[in-house]
């Protein structure tokens, strides 16, 4: 379901009001910047704080591969000539068991996480770059440009995701000079581009909403009076004041990419690097067959990894939203 941002309003309290309220409440702190307030509100959100720790640990662990892995991504734990190596339940030699050709699932999950996180961060970063630029410009400028951009993104975002994904995938794959640049449809590079095409629109809408709320503020008017161009205002004022929504968009984007990649893999349209490389999405999609045959470990561990990452990121997103928008705060 589209995670729309309609209706999310933002704090209209200025820093001055905040400080006054705090003084009245008896705090002896002379002045507290909005950034610090946000940080403290984030810390107060328990689930988010714990999630940051878990996620950080996970990311470091994954990035430290091959130190943290026991085998290579395409390495069998032992050769077939020494006996059955495939579909083995978890054991000492393979903590999470082995897959259909005897590779260690634990190591593959770590490598797969690395690929998926990379894919997610790259796609999100590119989406962010494009989305922030377009969205803030549309929000600031308004008028015809804003209208057109909003109309188009509206329609596109409301499209059934998989249908749109497959159609765009086909279009990209059919034009030869595009595949020469961004890679074959079965490569990771291609997926980054594909998900960027989908990702920027959501980011653009968030930024637009944010900018439209901010643009009536005094500092923007002041900047205009001083003769600043639109882009200057965007760079210097609007984006720094939009860190909250931007961070939220980034975090949700990563998760969305991983899940979308698993969905594509389910239908056979996912990455197929062919050299044994894998991604978390591929591992999750492959688990479908495994569950039916009773090889529960092939489903449980990849899915648990996915759930862990998704939940952590979602909680962090929640925490960030609370931090930057106290009206959403759980504690009063």
């Amino acid at each position: 379901m589209p995670d729309s941002t309609r209706g999310s309003s933002l704090s209209k309290r200025s820093a001055a009001t905040q400080a006054t309220t705090d003084a009245v409440a008896g705090l002896t702190v002379a002045s507290v910047s909005p950034r610090r307030m946000a940080y403290m509100r984030f810390r107060a959100h328990k689930a988010a704080s714990v999630s940051v720790v878990i996620l950080a640990f996970l990311v470091i662990y994954v990035l430290m591969s091959p130190l943290t892995t026991r085998y290579g991504v395409n390495e069998q734990i032992f050769d077939i000539s020494q006996g059955k190596n495939y579909n083995l339940a978890p054991r000492a030699e393979a903590w999470f068991g082995t897959d259909s050709i005897g590779r260690d699932l634990y190591s593959r999950i770590i490598f797969g996480l690395r690929v998926s996180l990379l894919l997610g961060i790259l796609a999100s970063a590119f989406s962010l770059a494009v989305g922030v630029a377009v969205g803030s410009y549309a929000g600031l400028k308004g008028g015809r440009f804003d209208d057109v951009v909003m109309r188009l993104t509206d329609v596109f975002l409301a499209f059934p995701f998989l249908v749109a994904l497959l159609v765009i995938r086909n279009v990209l794959g059919a034009v030869p000079w595009i595949t020469a640049v961004i890679g074959e449809p079965s490569s990771i590079r291609f997926l980054v581009v594909l998900f960027t095409i989908f990702g920027w629109m959501g980011v653009a809408r968030i930024l637009r909403a944010q900018v439209m709320a901010l643009k009536e503020r005094e500092f923007v008017e002041a900047a205009r009076a001083a003769g600043a161009t639109n882009w200057y205002i965007i760079r210097k004022h609007l984006i720094p004041n939009s860190t909250g929504p931007i961070l939220v968009a980034l975090s949700l984007g990563v998760v969305g990419v991983i899940v979308s990649e698993a969905t594509l893999s389910l239908f056979g349209y996912g990455p197929s690097p062919g050299d044994g490389a894998t991604s978390l999405g591929l591992l999750v999609a492959e688990s479908k067959l495994a569950v039916r045959a009773g090889y529960w470990w092939l489903a449980l561990y990849p899915f648990a990894a996915l759930l862990l990452v998704t939940l952590c990121v979602s909680f962090i997103g929640d925490g960030l939203r609370d931090a930057f928008d106290p009206k959403q705060s759980v504690e009063q």
């Binding site: 589209p2 729309s4 209706g7 409301a158 499209f159 059919a174 569950v291 996915l306």
Partner: protein, 327 residues
């Protein structure tokens, strides 16, 4: 208000035309209709291929695309649709059935989501920070994080296969619209077959509506004007009923309209797993074959419903929210 609606309506037709034209271009570029036809009919003669090109208006070049689009549009609007590339079966009967099946699933799941989800959201927002709130929030997050095929598999295992082992009959069937061999309309049987797929989709809709309503209501409950109302001494009950809910419903309403627009075609995985012959399966088969005469009406129906429902969402939003300054 009236001017706003009129303006939006005026833009509806050009928007539809533009978007469907973009879809037309995307499909022609992406699926290569002529090649697909040749593959699906490996022994077609040159004459047959030419007939196919004429029938579907598959002219080359930029101007050819425009010309082809209008030819297609004419045929579409007059009900004169080109048949599928496989077996020359007419497109509309299958599309109609697929649409009906998908709507049945999607609308039911949406209604569940709207009522149950919003209820949960309200309950959570009323006691922020307490157990209720945490439970709903975490539950919703987990619900959104579980991929549909996982929940589908688990439900199938539980209610069909293992139930039969334990109790001798399967509580809900694994797949299909009706049991094999059944003909005609039968409401109880249809509901029984719908149960599992609806639950799978409803997990997602309930989760997303509850989060949305919770967020929206919290927003409203903590807002300045309510503070004012409270300080004026209006009872909490009145605050809730008269002001908060109504205002909280505004963004949720737009979400409802957007969702309905997206329901059609958004259930591919669930339909595939439960062998429910809906729009998802229709699309996957047509897509796999590169079946242009089937893909175009399909996409246009989806696009059309998305655009129309977006419009409705905007109009409703404008109507309900007094803060919106209409240009």
């Amino acid at each position: 208000m009236k001017r706003y609606v009129a303006r939006r309506l005026l833009w509806l037709i050009p928007t539809l035309l533009l978007v469907t034209f973009l879809v037309y271009v995307a499909l022609r570029l992406g699926t290569d209709p002529v090649e697909s036809y040749k593959r699906a009919n490996a022994r077609a003669s040159k004459k047959k291929i030419q007939q196919y090109i004429e029938l579907n208006g598959l002219y080359d070049g930029a101007f050819g695309y425009v010309r082809g689009y209008f030819k297609w549009l004419g045929g579409f609007l007059t009900g004169d649709w080109a048949p599928s590339i496989k077996g020359r079966t007419p497109v509309w009967p299958n599309l109609k059935d697929a649409l009906a099946n998908s709507l049945r699933l999607g609308v039911t799941a949406s209604i569940l989501g709207i009522f149950v989800g919003n209820l949960f959201g309200v309950l959570a927002a009323l006691r922020p920070g307490r157990l209720r709130d945490t439970a709903v929030n975490t539950g919703a997050l987990i619900g959104l994080a579980i991929p549909p095929f996982v929940s589908a598999l688990l439900l199938q295992l539980l209610f069909s296969i293992y139930w039969q082992k334990w109790f001798g009959y399967s509580l809900f069937p694994t797949s299909g619209v009706y049991p094999p061999g059944h003909q005609g309309f039968d409401l109880p049987l249809m509901l029984k077959h719908m149960a599992l797929p609806v639950v799978v989709v409803a997990i997602q809709t309930i989760a997303s509506y509850s989060r949305y309503m919770r967020s929206s209501l919290l927003d409203v409950l903590n807002s300045d004007y309510l503070r004012t109302a409270r300080s004026k001494g209006i009872s909490e009950r009145q605050v809730l009923l008269k002001h908060s809910l109504r205002n909280a419903l505004i963004p949720v309403t737009t979400l409802i309209f957007l969702d309905i627009g997206a329901i059609v075609g958004g259930l591919i995985i669930t339909e595939g797993l439960f062998e429910y012959p809906g729009m998802g399966r229709f699309f996957l088969v047509a897509y796999g074959n590169g079946d242009f005469p089937q893909l175009m009406p399909f996409m246009v129906i989806i696009v059309g419903s998305v655009v129309v429902f977006n419009l409705l969402a905007d109009i409703v939003y404008a109507r309900l929210d007094p803060r919106i300054k209409l240009v």
